[in-house]
Amino acid sequence: MTTTTAPRPTAPAQRRTLARMALVEGRLLLRDPSVMFFSLLFPALLLTVLGLAMPWADQPYDAEDPFLSRISGITGYTPIVLSLAIATVALSTYPATIATYRQRGVLRRLSTTPVGPGRLLVAQVLVNLVALLAAAALAVAVGLAVLDVSAPSQPLLLLGVFVLAVLAVFAMGSLVAALAPTAAAANGWGMTLYFVSLFFAGVWLPLPIMPDVVQDIATYLPLGAASQAMTAAWVGQPFPTTQVLVLAAWTLLATPVAARLFRWS
């Protein structure tokens, strides 16, 4: 019996393993038709249908507001669709997949290999980020090319706020992934958060026509803050300081809590 110790995996080898896992996870995502549809295509599809069918699409977004009166309804709805794209992946697809992997012993099996289960979580986050970026890019591209969505007035701010929003909502999804005891629970919690978040993000009814109290609550919720901050960046409102702080706070609070509470089995 030889007792040579196995060579320690080098950093490039570890990166290769991660890349390989991410590739496999990506393929699995592409093989799931419902995830494909809702994560990747639905935001663009929703924007297109509303843009083409709704009479308010080319009306001023909000005639009362000095900024919102200058943009069309469908332009005002575009940042909301970006919020939808973030939430679908971060609150529905991602936590449900992680909880399923835990419940079905996928993580446990990985913990018996030299690689361990941590890298699968990283691979999942990467794949979901790519899906989310693709969905958002597709929605914006369709909006600009097919619909009369006007270009964002502060594109860099929009990008920064979008990244912050992704981090904050993923942190919330990670809490669900960490705490839900079963895949069914993750689904239930995720979907509840999802639909409540969509309400406060203005997906059902545009925020400007909602009561002030709803708008105030929305400012302090991750997806509500995301929607308001992206709208501000898109239409050129003053810098959304409160919303940016809210998003940062959710990210900084929820991420370590999720990491700490995460159960591997």
Partner: protein, 324 residues
């Protein structure tokens, strides 16, 4: 080359809160053997192997697996020990070959996935998604994933639970093929037939303790050095004549008559001695039945809660009756 055991565990103990899962388990697994860990559900089998594999840290006791401390050297250990865990699934849409290729990439010196598919009879299923495999195919894939790192030790937990008899037999053949390739195997099971068929040695675990260790035959002998002979005489023979005939037969430990059948318990050359004695007393017999204790009886008497070891040794207790 050396005679260092593959696994040496001494006085392992593990509690979850106030529940003592493993009270005191010591094991020594030698190179090249199939070592069975047999016990009822909840006896502490899985917790024991999880400590061997470095997935759980013992509260007390020491473990060395291939000379490594599983807690401290987990990464090095996982490179050389393959684990097939109970109820470990894969993503539904992951295909057989993809799973093997992915898991092969985790190890420094992996086996050829194509060879493994061949060994486990999965070549035709290489492109099939996990969710479309049968129970037996899923288990065989699970074994393949445990072997893809070319382990020196494979730990297989409840390998055939939930499989139909045919798939079970196929899986047993696979285990024997793996051993033939030089891998030491620790097999966790609650199935007597499986342990009896595959294992060179068995540790019987009950309530977190090892209650017996030995070859399947030794375990049986430990529980029951006893045979039970049932003799039905031709015609009516008074009970006292039957019992009287046995006086002086050395190996008889106990005899009784029930429903016109003489039931004799004892050891040694019981059958021959009893039949000769009866013949000498003019008792003709038409029906003779010998029941030998089985591993299952040993299991029940050695792991049962207060079960009497001298209890009737009929080998007909269904395996499921011993599950809790």
């Amino acid at each position: 080359m050396s005679s260092t055991p593959v696994v040496r565990a001494e006085h392992l103990r593990k509690a979850y809160g106030s529940t003592l899962a493993v009270a005191d388990v010591s094991l020594t697994v030698e190179q090249g053997e199939i070592y069975g860990i047999l016990g009822r559900n909840g006896a502490g089998k899985t917790t024991t192997v999880e400590m061997l594999a470095g997935l759980r840290t013992p509260d007390a006791g020491t473990v060395r697996v291939l000379g490594l401390d599983p807690t401290r050297d987990a990464a090095a250990l996982h490179e050389r020990v393959g684990l097939q865990l109970q109820e470990s699934a894969l993503p539904d849409r992951l295909r057989v070959r993809e799973a093997l290729d992915l898991y092969a990439s985790f190890y420094a010196d992996p086996a050829d996935p194509a060879d493994l598919l061949d060994l486990l009879g999965l070549t035709a299923k290489a492109g099939t998604a996990f969710k479309d495999l049968s129970g037996g195919q899923k288990q065989r894939l699970s074994v393949a994933l445990a072997l893809v790192g070319r382990p020196q030790l494979a730990i297989l937990d409840e390998l055939t639970t939930g499989l139909d008899p045919h798939a079970r037999r196929e899986t047993w053949a696979v285990v024997e093929a793996i051993r033939a390739s030089g891998v030491t195997i620790v097999l966790v099971t609650h199935l007597m037939e499986e342990a009896e068929r595959l294992c060179d040695r068995i540790a019987l675990i009950a309530s977190g303790r090892v209650s017996a260790v030995g070859t399947p035959e030794e375990i049986v002998a430990l529980a029951h050095g006893e045979q039970v002979l049932r003799v039905r005489p031709d015609g009516r023979v008074p009970d006292d004549v039957l019992l009287g005939a046995l006086a002086g037969v050395p190996d008889v430990r106990d005899a009784s008559v029930a429903d016109r059948t003489l039931v004799v318990r004892g050891g040694g050359t019981l059958v021959q001695d009893v039949l000769v004695a009866l013949d000498r007393h003019g008792v003709r017999t038409s029906d003779v039945r010998l029941d030998r204790a089985s591993l299952e009886d040993a299991f029940v008497s050695l792991t049962g809660d207060g079960a009497d070891a001298s209890a009737d040794a009929r080998p007909s207790v269904p395996a499921s009756a011993s599950e809790v």
